[in-house]
Symmetry: C2
Subunit: 249 residues, 2 copies
DNA sequence: TCTTGCATACTAACATGTTAGCTTGGGCCT
DNA sequence: AGGCCCAAGCTAACATGTTAGTATGCAAGA
């Protein structure tokens, strides 16, 4: 069940560093029903690579570690399977999903579809108050960039996208975009941003805001498409560098 | 909130006929795990209005009717709640979701976002074989129209959209579009098509296919947007005619 | 008449017991 | 030595028992 490190060529094509394994976050850090909290805790572990692609998910162990019975764990695992974050093999076991380039491409497609529609909508309907929020977010990005706080920058980047999605007024689009995007995100954190990429990202964000400020839906679409199109290109080499993390196609 | 002056006051604004209540379809009509089959059976009952908005979902009754225990029923109900097809009130009961105009609008937005992205993609990548399938579908529509087989026409209409979504090569977009669209669909079947609407639908389908044949993504987007934009307008009067089926806003 | 308090009868949520199917490993036969 | 078979030990899936929280109805009191 444990994935043995396959042959390492002398120098990998990409510097890939796996974050350390951490124990499950206790349930009291989350809200909602037990099942909901177990779901959140497991999801976090998978997305943060504490549970790694191919790992076996041992329910008794999880039950013991979280101090709950099998029912909420089962329900949580079922929900993770719907998102393709785990793979349930009937009567055999449950495994953390490996990456799949097909699934990553699909996630990128979905995210782009949703976010293009959102930004086109928002460019036509945005209020002054909402614009203020976006401007504030972008100023924050600038400040974090000046401080070389890349982690903070990433957070604020995500927040900007979330703002735009929420400005459509549709509650579920942000959530849907997030779940569509989840495989991309899980893979993304494995690669260090290329030099200068963060600055380009900031510039692209500026372009998006400018188009929204101009209430120009066509330009907003174009700027957003340009922005989102960047990431996938950086991701594909990962499949070559770490085939052990990927689904065999 | 203003009702348009389009109706004589004495007749109701809309002739709304609810389909008859039918018993749950037995599980052996479906495939997969028990939970999966229970889910499918309940979903069908809700979408076909056999279970009506506001109805209480009595688990013991369902268990008895389907001959299973509470576990698979619980899991099925949980999944229905994720889709907002039922509303679970903790420690109180589970109810078939009422319609919500907000949710219907959101579903239409999502579907449009996905289908516009799909058709734009497909117009650039479609193969001759796939084009043949679309042409065949459209000829079938024509034939069904000539026979006044509106039910068959609707099936083929849905199949055409599904074809286009599947031609992207992304497995989950069709499923996602379906679940996004589910509230629109549930409401749609309550209203009879306006006179001549079916013919217009066919013409719009022709325009979409023509744009795809021309491999013109912009025209394909425009034609699809025009087509999808029709339905929502026909749906809004329903909330006025049958407020009892709708969530109070 | 209207309110208040309590007993009752529901429900979802959770815990635990049971079943059936897959995988694995070891011994036996060839 | 190598392949095959069978049994043991996993697992998910399902059944059933338990707990706790909410609505409801009725009766008693204001």
């Amino acid at each position: 069940m444990q994935d043995a490190p396959r042959q390492a060529p002398e120098v990998p094509a990409l510097e890939v560093q796996l974050p350390p394994r951490r124990p499950l976050r206790p349930l009291d850090a989350f809200a909602g029903s037990l099942a909901q909290r177990v779901y959140a805790s497991l999801r976090e572990a998978i997305l943060s690579m504490s549970f790694r692609p191919g790992d076996s998910l041992r329910k008794p162990e999880i039950c013991a570690q979280l101090g709950v019975s099998r029912s909420p764990v089962s329900e949580a695992v079922t929900r993770l399977a719907v998102e393709h974050l785990v793979r349930i093999v009937p009567q055999t076991g449950t495994y953390v999903a490996r990456f799949s380039l097909a699934e990553i491409r699909e996630g990128a497609f979905l995210r782009e579809a949703l976010e293009l529609a959102a930004v086109e909508n928002v460019a036509q309907t945005i209020t002054e108050d909402e614009l203020t929020q976006l401007r504030h977010n972008l100023r924050l990005q600038q400040a974090l960039l000046d401080d070389d706080d890349f982690d903070g920058f990433y957070q604020t980047d995500a927040a900007m996208h979330e703002l735009i999605l929420s400005f459509t007024g549709y509650r579920r689009v942000a959530a849907l975009a997030e779940t569509s995007w989840v495989h991309v995100n899980r893979a993304r954190q494995l690669i260090l941003p290329a030099p200068g990429r963060v600055q380009s990202t900031y510039a692209e964000h500026q372009a998006i805001l400018a188009a929204i400020e101009a209430r120009d839906p066509v330009a907003a679409r174009a700027a957003t498409r340009l922005h989102l199109g960047q990431l996938i290109g950086f991701l594909e080499p990962l499949a070559l560098a770490r085939p052990d993390l990927f689904e065999p196609d």
